[in-house]
């Protein structure tokens, strides 16, 4: 069985640079099936998660129906200015 980052180094690094306040609105670009998303989604006010992989986004939606999960690339994203507090590029640049 494949195991990704069982040592949780990624989460530790993310936590070292970001402790999300409860009112935080997050846009995650390249969310995939939510490997990173699941670590913070319950702590913040809202999450918009995008990824061009429709299957991965469907998995994410099933796990987190409250998330605004969109199967699109960043070039297709349309949001108002100043509408999120954090933009997270999840291995997507």
């Amino acid at each position: 069985m494949i195991e990704e980052d069982p040592e949780a180094h990624e989460l530790a690094a993310l936590r070292a640079v970001w402790r999300p306040p409860a009112a935080c609105r997050v846009l995650e670009i390249g969310a995939g099936d939510g490997r990173l998303t699941r670590h913070y989604a319950r702590e913040v006010a809202s999450v918009i998660a995008i990824d061009p992989d429709a299957d991965a986004i469907a998995d994410l939606r099933r796990e987190f129906p409250q998330i605004d999960a969109r199967a699109i690339g960043v070039e297709e994203l349309s949001l108002p200015d100043r509408s999120v507090d954090v933009v997270l590029f999840a291995w997507s640049l």
Binding site: M1, V17, E75, F89, W91
Partner: protein, 151 residues
Amino acid sequence: MPEEGMVDALRLARRLLPPGGFVLDLHPTASSVAVEVGGCVTGFVDLGDGLRRHAAAAHALARSIATQLLTLERTLTFDFFTYGGSVDELRDYIAENWREARIPDAVVERTRDAVRDAPRIKPRVREHVQVTRLSSANLSRLMSADGSRRD
């Protein structure tokens, strides 16, 4: 995504953020990805154009800082390990899930031999990843003429 597309994505991110908002970026560094058994390197993943893409991401971030689109707050690096039950599983996973990357046959063979000598140890690949926090605040706008901070 080409470098210009990365810069465009950072510009979009900046537009979506209020003052005090920030960008978090995680991406692998432009360094080799080792295949290991118990900490011993058996070879390296052939990343295809991966190194070029990772270097382009770093360059796009540097451009966003140099042009004062974003302000660097903090950066750190960490190792991200992916373990397989066998090297064949790891090889197949990478071929299927990593863009253009593959574990070369010679490395698969060496890793098989290493696992044979240490059957309780799972083979793994080690990626070096950088996490960066960038603020939407443009520092030059926060500084007074004499260089003192205005906030």
